[in-house]
């Protein structure tokens, strides 16, 4: 839509614009947002990928709803796929087969929908990592982190409900596992399962119920949260990476109209194009090969969609015999522990920004991002979290690892159990060391310049490599980071030292005890003088 500020008379565009503006006052929005500046960086695209794949999911999903029938009533399959002809199955399964085999473009749309869903969750995950490692969650964006976190959880819920709909062997098995987990929960488990499935597993209600969640309730909430999320991006203006000329008080980049719109709009089509390309060439979820759900057949080596892997892995890594009978009731620790583990993990992810804000006590707004090395402990915590997740995820593939590398299942599981505890600790230590080393190297380069590769012979006969000092702009990249130091325990106004203060001081030591400070001007001058003598 073109909206110009021309007076009402000139041309069609002008007339339309005038018509609209007189009824919507849209010129104000254009004035406000049309030239808004957006900073540019490849890592900012991750969030865009998530947004665009959601649009693709909505489009392809709407198409699918025209043909899919979420009913568990049983029919004899009578479609084109010969191997399943005459087989008893649910209407859900048979309509999914019809979409795949009797509707032109149906299989393509199914695969677009599924691939876009996988991309959606992956992009959200990577976007969260970007936000975490650059400290973009700091004030004023803590709440937007929470909103994004909710979106991540909702996306997984969307993925799982969608995965279950075709009522094929694998998705039925997935539901079986969920049901098994639910009934294992103390006190309420049995009843939650009973209500969810409308009776005993599998019953004949669950697909219809999941369908309502999948196409109505969840998308609505996702959409609402996306709107909130983006609204905050506008209110806060986008963060920017550190660089010369960039400050906490400005934002450097390109205007929405035209450059950003062209790039971002074009990028939507790129994402869409890539998803369609993959969907056209790579089969995903071939339900016809699995057959309809039946509680009895087995399928070895089958995997859930990737984002469920960490939960599945948590189940697998529990040691045997974790169950007790207390007070006449069954406590299924082999369910309770992994569920708690996942909840605590998610809670930590959710709460981290608030925790870091409490530790630093930093009340300023932060719009310039941290380079990950310049926040060593945060980066190390992130690395530990990623490792924890990765081990759980590997746990979900334990059987595949075992058969693929010809090792014993027991060996793989036991190794992963140990790694689940030690891995994050090692990852923490290594990441922290690496960050500090990189920071030291940065200091080194600022103080002594970089190696030019030019070797000269000094009058004394010795050879040295010529070092060249950085220019002002390059130096700024290396000296302009947030520096923190541990706080000291001090009595408050009433002369008391509270427990909270003590804890905060301890945490601030944990975060900032090992610390490389940015080079100051004085240091730099001293070093220059020093090297001239």
């Amino acid at each position: 839509m073109t909206v110009t500020a021309t007076p009402p008379s000139s041309g069609v565009t002008g007339k339309i614009s005038n018509y609209l503006d007189e009824r919507t006052s849209i010129s104000g929005a254009v004035k406000e947002f049309g030239r808004k500046i957006f900073p540019d960086h490849w890592s900012f695209l991750l969030g865009e990928v998530a947004l665009y794949s959601f649009v693709i999911i909505l489009l392809s999903g709407s198409f699918l709803t025209f043909f899919f029938q979420a009913s568990m009533a049983s029919v004899q399959y009578d479609g084109s796929y010969v191997p399943l002809k005459g087989v008893e199955m649910s209407v859900a399964m048979s309509s999914t087969l019809d979409i795949s085999f009797d509707l032109r473009g149906g299989l393509l749309l199914r695969q677009i929908h599924h691939w876009a869903a996988l991309l959606f969750i992956s992009a959200i995950g990577l976007h969260m990592l970007r936000v975490f490692f650059t400290g973009a969650f700091r004030k004023p964006r803590e709440l937007n982190w929470s909103i994004g976190f909710v979106l991540f959880v909702l996306a997984m819920a969307e993925g799982f409900t969608g995965y279950s709909l075709p009522d094929d062997l694998l998705s039925g098995n997935g539901l079986r596992i969920i049901d098994g987990m639910i009934v294992g929960l103390p006190v309420v488990g049995t009843w939650i399962s009973f209500l969810l499935f409308g009776g005993e597993f599998p019953g004949s209600d669950i697909i219809g119920r999941l369908y309502t969640l999948h196409i109505l309730l969840l998308p609505l909430v996702v959409l609402a949260f996306i709107v909130l999320h983006l609204m905050f991006v506008i209110i806060h203006k986008h963060t920017q990476y550190p660089g010369p000329g960039r400050t906490e008080q400005n934002v450097v980049g390109y205007p929405v109209l035209p450059v950003y719109a062209a790039k971002a709009g074009g990028f939507f089509f790129l994402v869409f194009g890539v998803v369609v390309l993959i969907a056209a060439t790579v089969t995903i979820n071939p339900i016809w090969a699995y057959g309809p759900y039946d509680p009895s057949p087995v399928s070895a080596g089958t995997q859930p969609d990737w984002y469920i892997g960490f939960a599945d892995g948590a189940l697998r890594l529990m040691p045997p015999h974790l169950e007790t009978y207390w007070f006449g009731y069954t406590w299924s620790w082999n369910i309770i522990i992994p569920v708690l583990l996942l909840l605590v993990f998610l809670a930590v992810v959710f709460a981290y920004p608030f925790f870091e804000a409490w530790v630093t006590g930093d009340k300023r707004e932060h719009h310039v991002l941290d380079r990950p090395r310049n926040a060593p402990v945060r980066t190390a915590i992130g690395a530990a979290g990623v490792t924890f997740y990765a081990v759980l995820w590997a746990g979900a593939a334990s059987d595949i690892i075992a058969t693929h590398f010809k090792v014993t299942m027991e060996g793989v599981i036991n190794t992963l159990q140990i790694m689940l505890i030690l891995g994050p600790i090692f990852a923490f230590m290594i990441a922290k060391r690496v960050c500090l080393a990189l920071q030291k190297k940065d200091r080194e380069i600022v103080l002594h310049g970089f190696e030019t590769g030019r070797i000269v012979r000094l009058p004394g006969g010795e050879f040295t490599e010529v070092h060249q000092q950085l220019d002002d702009y390059d130096r700024w990249q290396l000296v302009s980071f947030n520096d923190n130091a541990p706080i000291m325990v001090r009595p408050n106004a009433r002369g008391k030292i509270t427990g909270a203060t003590r804890r905060r001081a301890a945490w601030s030591r944990f975060f900032f005890e090992d610390r490389i400070a940015p080079v100051t001007q004085t240091e730099y001058k001293q070093e220059l003088e020093h090297s001239h003598h």
Partner: protein, 360 residues
Amino acid sequence: MAKIVKGSEKSDLVATSGERLTGKELGTAVVTADAFPNPGLPPHRQRVTDTNPRRLARAARIVAWLFYLSIAGSIFTIFAYMFFPIEGGDTTSIRLSTLYIGLGSAFALLAIGIAAVHWGKAVMADKEGVDERHPVRGTDETRARAVEIFKEADEESGFSRRTLIRNGMIGAFIAFPLPAIALFRGLAPMDEDPNNLMKHTFWKKGLRLTHDPTGVPIKASDLTIGSSVHVIPEGLLDLPEAQMLDQKAKAAVLVVRLKPEDLHWTSEQRKSWSYDGIVAYSKICTHVGCPVALYEQQTHHLLCPCHQSQFDISNECAVIFGPAARPLPQLPIAVDADGYLVALSDFDQPVGPSFWEREK
């Protein structure tokens, strides 16, 4: 707070010097007056298309061409839709239809994408801009007015003054969603108790063991040593489909024949549930309920494909590995007058995953 920044005491880390600015806002942050000043935006660097008009013209041409190619791609897709029909059951035709419709539209989309991005990067004016940021918080004035508004509203409504009204309202707000929760009870049948249902299966005394999925009864003499069969109860298949699955989800059984001396029993009673080396165990994993049916003949182990729990058939299906906590329940069996395997009773305990009231 200390004026001088002290670095860490650790020797491999560097200490700084200089003044530390202090402020309530800063927390742990260290800001020194001695920090380098921001050098400002670096000089603008021109692109090739800014300096070389021929390159600019070429880039513009490419952008335009890509848009036209995209149109071609879309038209191709429509033709592909028309001329690659899917013929009943022929998988090649489905593959081709999917491929050509997909490739055509992927091409059309990618061409638009590349064109737009290239347009933005190479052709549109390369003018970096700088916006000012303002603190997110409202100005003091705005905030004061907001407080005032609430005060006025409070005064005019009497919200804090009229506690009776206020508390009544809060109570009503808490109470009104409760019926909705009650309504959800209807999600599951009213006249059934899940605990009861979960404790019983379709098996009962005298039901023959039949092949899954054919329903053909099994003769003990047909089972050779080392063989295993998937079993469902006689009559299960006569149930309406929906009930059939519910029942099968609990009643599925695996029957294995071992040499009688390979079976180790904890009690005579358990032993009496088997017949000449033939044993029947629930196939529903005691972990979270997948069908456990990978049978390893050599080791007499049953493996669950979901989370790799392993059960030892020679020891009453005890858990030997994996997250499962309990052995698979055993179905007591015998042989009837005609030599067919029959159940002696239902399982002596609930099958499948543990649940809260399991022991009740």
